[in-house]
Symmetry: C2
Subunit: 319 residues, 2 copies
């Protein structure tokens, strides 16, 4: 099936579709962080979304886009965690089965989320090939619809609804920063922002240890051989082909930050903003701090994407 990128109308339709189920997440501000950044920061708190991550938006839009017939056979996806939990939660809102293929070694807190939401776990080896094969197997057996974590127009449109809310909650922004993993979030945000507020800069933040989108934009072609090595467990995916095309089309810049910079930003967010976010979220603040001069005195929206941290594993001690 050819990929047809969503439009602003699709993002708006997604917002209407998910309104009964998704949380309108708050935007938090903090004097101490503003002072240290030299900018006016607006944190969009998607870690307070249902399931603890923005992923519920895209998953919910996909689930409620299905026909009655399709819905009855359920949905299936492969996901290291947040999208899986989100799809399970979304499927539960429609009372349909969700099959979640998870690689060995996924974060315990995220697997617990999936099971709590009623998702059916299918474990597989931690390779892309094993994931896709297991997914295809489940599809053959159940007739479930694949809801890809990011290379899916319904998912992209759902993630773009964040921008509709953010523009209402924080008018007159100069820039928005989101993390980049597979690119579902940032491409949805690009579509909504370019249509509604083309003057607002959109920047993507990628872990230096999983900088395939950054490299892809530099080279002008999609780089798929980066072996991810980062604490940002939500951002280890390779940029999707349609997502990469959308980043290019909308002229989105991607910058990188190291795990050390992300860890310091995470500590600031926990300590000052008092929000328990996962490393993938903290990365946006790390990117902003690294490019502080560029954002001086600007009003910046930062999307905190998730808060599913393994509290047994986290180490926030100062370096």
């Amino acid at each position: 099936m050819a990929f047809v990128p969503p439009t602003l109308a699709d993002v708006r339709a997604a917002a209407a579709r998910i309104a009964a189920y998704a949380t309108v997440t708050p935007v938090l501000r903090n004097d101490v962080l503003n002072a240290s950044a030299g900018a006016s920061l607006h944190f969009k708190c998607e870690h307070l979304q249902r399931g603890g991550a923005f992923k519920f938006r895209g998953a919910c839009n996909a689930v409620w886009s299905l026909s009655e017939d399709e819905a009855r056979r359920g949905v299936v996806t492969h996901s290291s965690g947040n999208h899986g939990a989100a799809l399970a939660l979304a499927a539960a809102t429609r009372g349909i089965p969700a099959h979640i293929v998870v690689p060995e070694g996924a974060v315990a807190a995220k697997l617990a989320n999936i099971e709590r939401a009623g998702g059916i776990l299918h474990r597989c080896a931690p390779t892309i090939a094993a994931r896709e094969e297991t997914c295809a197997e489940v599809q053959r057996e159940t007739g479930a619809t694949l809801v890809h974590p990011y290379a899916d127009a319904r998912v992209i449109a759902g993630q773009g609804t964040i921008i509709l809310e953010l523009l209402q909650q924080a008018p007159d922004l100069d820039a928005v920063i989101t993390p980049v993993g597979g690119g579902g979030l940032i491409s949805g945000c690009a579509i909504a922002l370019r249509a509604l507020a083309p003057g607002i800069e959109l920047m993507g933040a990628e872990p230096a240890g999983a900088d395939d989108a950054f490299q892809s934009l530099q080279r002008g072609e999609r780089v798929t051989d980066v072996v991810p090595d980062t604490i940002c467990d939500g951002l280890r995916a390779t940029i999707g082909a349609p997502n990469f095309a959308l980043l290019r089309e909308h002229g989105v810049e991607v910058v990188t930050a190291t795990d050390g910079e992300t860890r310091a930003a995470m500590r600031s967010i926990w300590a000052e903003l008092k929000q328990t976010v996962e490393p993938s979220s903290a990365l946006v603040l790390a990117a902003l701090m690294k490019h502080r001069e560029r954002f001086r005195d600007k009003r910046v929206g930062l999307v905190l994407t998730g808060g599913n941290v393994d509290l047994d594993a986290v180490d926030l001690r100062a370096a």
Copy 2:
């Protein structure tokens, strides 16, 4: 000076006085915590108040209640941390000096808050006598006005403003639970609740290792010889004499929870509500969980009082 307890009118005046400076903190909800409590929980997020604790309300009301003459000479207090930082921040809003007497051994994150807000630190031995003596010395030298952390009508009225907001944000509550340390917060809440919504139960939560208010209510007289031993560093104070009188007058019940119970509740709040709260805040959820049967299917407001945690010291690993 005889203590004149504040009235609802004083609480309302405090709300008007602090409106330009204090944050209207959000109320957060969470499906997972609701399910595990079997109740509908409304978390009033005072850890998102300026300075990271509800204390800013009372301190700000006290600072802006001073005459021009009094204000010029500044304010002084003794505080293990959150009230000190709050008073320093409040004094800064009026451009006057704040002298903060802190006992040796106070939490590093809280001392940093005080200094960042421009407070002038005076260290003393960790005894009540040393604190009071050092305070009196500063008063003699500077003419500063003492703003007691809890046994002060202006402070009590300021803390009571939480209830004005909470009743707007979460109508039809059945009960409200707040922590009890010196009793400034709970007595302010009692005054506002009894006047505005006498049908709403108010419960105080105290650490089992610092249960002087609990013991005092049992015995019908103020117990002042409890040696605090608890991780709830914000709740080690002895219940104030006027605060105890107000608890008795308004028939407030106080229950206790152990540090183990508080630690488990803190882990839940960090993991599910995604809020970085200090142990003194988590205690309210611990108390609710301990008395779960009583709150079954009720709508309960829980005041999360502060989020100033020393991230180097915190240990959230499962027991």
